[in-house]
Amino acid sequence: MAPTGDDLQQIAEQVWASYLDTDGAKPLIPLPPDKLSKDVVAGVAVSGAWHGLVLVACSDVASKEAAAALLGMESDDVTEGDVDDALGELANVIGGNVKSLLPEPCTLGLPEVHNNADGDPWLAGDEICRFEATWMGEPMEVSVLEKPQGGGTE
């Protein structure tokens, strides 16, 4: 039992419909973005019968738009703390849904947000699936990484 890119798409689209695109004006478009950007990476660790991470990565602009949409404010007024909270919660909600597709028993950790993803040891792992999308013209990616058992998810 393992999640697929289609599973991630379905989960992400439900999250967007509930929280980020409630009126259908800002849809998550299931097409790879025309630019790659992972300025902000939020993730939750899963540990137990399966070890790994569920990640949401996006550009700086997309992270501020997401925080603004979730908090009901203008993106210019969004603080770094707002971005961390918003992206962390997106990762948490998506992670909770992904966990239901993983072997049991597993537990979900608290969300973490990493701004400098390159070479970050917490983000090391084998990618088992990914969903790339474009949101408000910006890159948005959901992925699942598997880690060797005990590989630093605690």
């Binding site: 439900q14 999250v15 419909a17 908090l71 918003a86 948490n92 909600v93 909770g96 966990k99 028993p105």
Partner: protein
């Protein structure tokens, strides 16, 4: 009515507040708690008609907070709003004394379905 909303994410506390409004529950007195320990402290210091709690929180988790309330004789109606909705968690929640578990992402309709008998 007085409702205690416990979630370590300010974003999610705000979304829960907004969803309560969208579900038609306007005019209630809403109080927030940032983790399970604060939930227990506030729920024991005041009288609430309902607690809406996340599961996965620092200090005390939602289920630990619920057990602490019940062990202390506090029987405030309690429901979970959490990112995980497995049958195992629903069973654990029910065994701990929770009335319901709403899984994220949720809609105003899902709130109405669970809350109408309490707030309606």
């Amino acid at each position: 009515m007085k409702i205690l909303i416990a979630d370590d994410s300010r974003v999610m506390r705000q979304i829960v507040t907004r969803t309560l409004r969208q579900a038609g529950y306007d005019g209630h007195d809403l109080v927030e708690a940032e983790d399970g320990a604060e939930l227990v402290a506030k729920a024991n210091a005041d009288s609430f008609d309902l607690v809406l709690s996340d599961w996965n929180m620092p200090n005390l988790t939602g289920i630990e907070a619920l057990r602490a309330l019940r062990a202390g004789g506090n029987n405030t109606p309690f429901g979970f709003v959490t990112s995980e909705g497995t049958q195992e968690m629903r069973d654990t929640a029910a065994a701990g004394g929770a009335l319901f578990l709403i899984a994220k992402p949720f809609t105003a309709e899902m709130f109405k379905e669970q809350l109408d008998s309490i707030l309606g």
